[in-house]
C-alpha cells in the first residue's frame, strides 16, 4: 500500500493565560491511499485538534504546531505557509465538520458555497461550476438540485445541510477527506444515511478518509484501521479486527466495555471511572494510570512506549512489557476476543 499521509511525532499546544495546554503530545500515524482510518477517543482527547492541525486550521495564536512532520505525498504540511496551504485545502485535503447547523455560512446561497472551491481550485467558469454543483448535489442525494442551488442554508434540514457540507468537501475530488464527527449532531436515522453516503462516495472516488468519532459502532462500520487517542496521544492503533477482537490497552478495554452489544443484553455496561487529565499539567507517567484498574507502580513514573503486538497492531501500555504480570481483560472484552477466535463474528456485524 502506498502511503498518502505520514504524521511523525506531532505536538500541538495552545498558549492560554493559565499556561501551555499540550493538546496533542507526540502523535504518529499514517494513512494509505484509499483507506479509512478512524480516530476514536473521549471529548478532549485531542482527536479534533490533531486533524485540524493537519490542515493548519487551528486558530493561531493561541494554537501552534510545536514540532513534528506532516508528510502529505512527501511534502511537509507543517512547514508550509498560509499561501501554500490554501492550495492544498479543499483541493487535495478537505474536511467535513461536526455541526451542519453552524458550518454553513447563513447569508450565502448554498450553490455559491459549493462553487467557491471549484472556482478557486479548478479555475472553472460560473456556468461550469454551476453544472458541477448540480452533479455534486445529485451525488450526495439532494433532489431538485437546480432549485436548491439558490436556497440559503436555513431552508435545509439538518441532514440535508450535512449533505451540502459533504458536497463542499467533495467538490474538487480531494485525495484525503477528513470527517470530524460528521454524524454526531444528527438524528440516528439521518446518521445512518450520511454514513452510507460517505461509504458510497468513498467507493466511487477512492479517496482516503480520516474519520473522527467517539462512536465505536460507527468505527466498526466504516473504518479499515483504528487509532485510539487518550490525553493527546495515540494509545493503541491497529486494524478494526485488532482493536475490536484483540484489544491490548486497558483504555481500549474500557471503551469497548462501555459499548452495548447485541449478544450481551444481560450485562451491565461498564463505565471508565474518573475524567481525562488536565492537559495544562499532564500527569507524570501514563496519563491513563489514575483511571486504570490495572495500573502498576511504573505507570505512575514512566510513560509507556509503543509495544508492537503484530505488524499492524501497536499499543502503549506497560502491561505488554515482558516483566508485567499476566492480566486478564474484563469479562465483556474477553468474550469478544474469544468470539473472534471462534470465527463466529465479523467486524461487519458490529453495529449498535
Amino acid at each position: 500500500m502506498e502511503k498518502l499521509l505520514e504524521v511523525k511525532n506531532m505536538h500541538v499546544s495552545f498558549d492560554t493565560y493559565g499556561g501551555e495546554v499540550k493538546a496533542v503530545r507526540g502523535v504518529n500515524f499514517d494513512v494509505n491511499k484509499g483507506e479509512t482510518l478512524a480516530i476514536v477517543g473521549e471529548s478532549g482527547s485531542g482527536k479534533s485538534v490533531t486533524t485540524k492541525a493537519l490542515m493548519q486550521l487551528i486558530p493561531q495564536p493561541p494554537g501552534r504546531i510545536k514540532e513534528g512532520e506532516i508528510l502529505f505525498e512527501g511534502r511537509d504540511l507543517a512547514k508550509m505557509n498560509e499561501k501554500q496551504m490554501q492550495k492544498i485545502r479543499g483541493k487535495e485535503i478537505s474536511m467535513i465538520f461536526q455541526d451542519p447547523m453552524t458550518s454553513l455560512n447563513p447569508t450565502m446561497k448554498v450553490g455559491n458555497q459549493i462553487m467557491e472551491g471549484l472556482i478557486k481550485h479548478q479555475k472553472m467558469s460560473k456556468a461550469q461550476a454551476r453544472k458541477r454543483v448540480s452533479e455534486l448535489l445529485e451525488l450526495v442525494g439532494i433532489p431538485d438540485a437546480e432549485n436548491r442551488i439558490n436556497q440559503y442554508p436555513h431552508q435545509f434540514s439538518g441532514g440535508m445541510r450535512q449533505r451540502v457540507v459533504v458536497a463542499i468537501a467533495l467538490a474538487c475530488n480531494p485525495k484525503l477527506l477528513i470527517a470530524d464527527e460528521p454524524t454526531t449532531a444528527l438524528d440516528v436515522t439521518i446518521q445512518a444515511q450520511i454514513l452510507e453516503l460517505m461509504k458510497d462516495i468513498q467507493k466511487k472516488t477512492d479517496s482516503a478518509t480520516i474519520f473522527i468519532t467517539h462512536d465505536l459502532g460507527v468505527v466498526a462500520n466504516v473504518a479499515d484501521r483504528v487509532a485510539v487517542m487518550y490525553a493527546g496521544k495515540i494509545v493503541e492503533i491497529g486494524t478494526v479486527d485488532d482493536i475490536f477482537y484483540n484489544p491490548q490497552h486497558p483504555y481500549t478495554w474500557g471503551l469497548l466495555g462501555s459499548m452495548p452489544s447485541l449478544d450481551s443484553e444481560d450485562e451491565e455496561l461498564y463505565a471508565i471511572p474518573g475524567s481525562p487529565p488536565d492537559l495544562l499539567n499532564p500527569p507524570k507517567g501514563d496519563a491513563f494510570a489514575a483511571r486504570n484498574e490495572y495500573a502498576m507502580k511504573i505507570d505512575f513514573e514512566q510513560e509507556p512506549p509503543m509495544f508492537k503486538v503484530s505488524d499492524t497492531h501497536y499499543a502503549a501500555t506497560w502491561l505488554l512489557h515482558e516483566n508485567a504480570p499476566k492480566i486478564e481483560p474484563p469479562e465483556a472484552v474477553k468474550k469478544r476476543m474469544e468470539g473472534n477466535a471462534n470465527g463466529s463474528s465479523s467486524s461487519e456485524g458490529e453495529r449498535i
Binding site: 498560509e82 485545502r89 458550518s103 447563513p106 467557491e116 472551491g117
Partner: protein, 308 residues
C-alpha cells in the same frame, strides 16, 4: 411581512397619539402664556391675543382642535414670533439639522466600521489596543467637550475652520466632526465584537478549509455576517445624534431646529417646544421602524422566513 408592517404602523400611530396627548396636557399644566412677555397690553388687547391662540376655549375643545390640526400637519402659531406658524418655522430650520445629522452618521459609521474591522483583524495587536482605547474615549467623552476642544484649538487657535455660523461647507466641518465621534466609537466597538465573533464561527473554518484566501474569507464570509447586526445599532446612533445636534447647534450657532428649540425653552414658547418635541418623537419612532424593516430585508433568514 405586510402584516408585520401594518402592525408596526398601528403601534407607531398609537405611540404618537399618546405622546401628543401627553405633551398637550403637560403644557397646559405649565405657567406662562403668550401674554407673559406683553403684560402692558390692555384687557381688550389681551382678550384678542387669547382669542387668537384659542386659549379662551375649554380645555377639551382646545385639545380637540389641537389634535385635528396636528393630524393635518399644523402645529399652531408661535408665541414669540407673531403670526408665524410653527410648522413653517421648523421647516425653515430643518435643513441644517438634517445635513449635520446625515453627514455625521455617514462619516461616523463608515470610519467606525473600518476602525472596528482593523481592530478585529489585528486582534490583540498594538493597533487593536490603540483603536479600542480611542473608541472608549470617543464613546465616553461627551460631544460638547469635543466641540469645545475643536472650537478652541482648530477654530480659535489654528483658525483652520470657522468657529460658528452656517454660511458654506467649511462651516459644517467642526460641528460634523464633533457629532461624528460618538458614532465612530460605537460603530468601531460593535464592529470589532461582531467581526471577532463571526471570524470565530464554524462556517469561517469551513470557508478556510475550502482553500479560500484570507481576503475572501474576511470579505465574503466575515464582513457580510458582521454587518447585518450592525444595522441594529444604527437606530440608537441616529437617536444619539439627534440628542447631540440640540447641543452642538447651540455651541456652533447653527440655525437648525435644535438651536430654535433651546431658544424656545428659554422664552416659554410652548407651541414651538411642543412642535419640536413631536417632531423629534416622530423621527425617533420612524427611524426605529425603518431599521427594523431594513433588518428584515437584509438578513435572508428573516426575509425568507417571513415570506414563506
Amino acid at each position: 411581512m405586510t402584516r408585520y408592517i401594518i402592525q408596526r404602523l398601528v403601534y407607531m400611530i398609537i405611540t404618537m397619539f399618546l405622546i401628543a396627548t401627553l405633551t398637550f396636557f403637560l403644557m397646559k399644566l405649565l405657567p406662562g402664556s403668550p401674554l407673559a412677555s406683553a403684560d402692558k397690553l390692555s384687557e381688550e388687547q389681551q382678550a384678542v391675543v387669547l382669542e387668537k391662540y384659542g386659549l379662551n376655549d375649554p380645555i377639551p375643545v382646545q385639545y380637540y382642535n389641537y389634535m385635528v390640526n396636528l393630524a393635518q400637519g399644523d402645529l399652531g402659531i408661535s408665541f414669540q414670533f407673531d403670526n408665524r406658524e410653527v410648522t413653517t418655522i421648523i421647516m425653515d430650520r430643518i435643513g441644517p439639522s438634517m445635513q449635520l445629522g446625515i453627514q455625521a452618521m455617514v462619516i461616523g459609521t463608515i470610519l467606525g466600521m473600518l476602525l472596528g474591522l482593523v481592530s478585529a483583524l489585528y486582534h490583540n495587536s498594538p493597533l487593536d489596543y490603540t483603536s479600542t482605547f480611542l473608541a472608549v474615549l470617543g464613546q465616553s467623552i461627551p460631544s460638547f467637550v469635543f466641540a469645545g476642544l475643536l472650537q478652541f484649538y482648530i477654530g480659535v487657535k489654528l483658525g483652520w475652520f470657522p468657529v460658528a455660523l452656517w454660511e458654506g461647507w467649511e462651516y459644517t466641518v467642526l460641528p460634523t466632526v464633533s457629532l461624528a465621534i460618538f458614532p465612530i466609537a460605537i460603530a468601531a466597538r460593535f464592529m470589532r465584537t461582531e467581526m471577532l465573533e463571526v471570524m470565530g464561527s464554524d462556517y469561517i473554518v469551513t470557508a478556510r478549509a475550502k482553500g479560500v484566501n484570507k481576503f475572501g474569507v474576511i470579505i465574503k464570509h466575515g464582513l457580510r455576517n458582521a454587518l447585518i447586526p450592525l444595522i441594529t445599532v444604527l437606530g440608537p446612533l441616529a437617536i444619539g445624534l439627534m440628542t447631540g445636534t440640540l447641543v452642538i447647534e447651540n455651541i456652533f450657532a447653527v440655525p437648525g431646529i435644535g438651536e430654535q428649540f433651546v431658544k424656545a425653552i428659554n422664552v416659554n414658547d410652548y407651541p414651538i417646544i411642543m412642535g419640536t418635541t413631536l417632531l423629534l418623537a416622530f423621527m425617533f419612532i420612524f427611524i426605529i421602524l425603518v431599521i427594523d424593516l431594513l433588518y428584515g430585508v437584509i438578513d435572508p433568514r428573516i426575509r425568507l422566513a417571513e415570506g414563506e
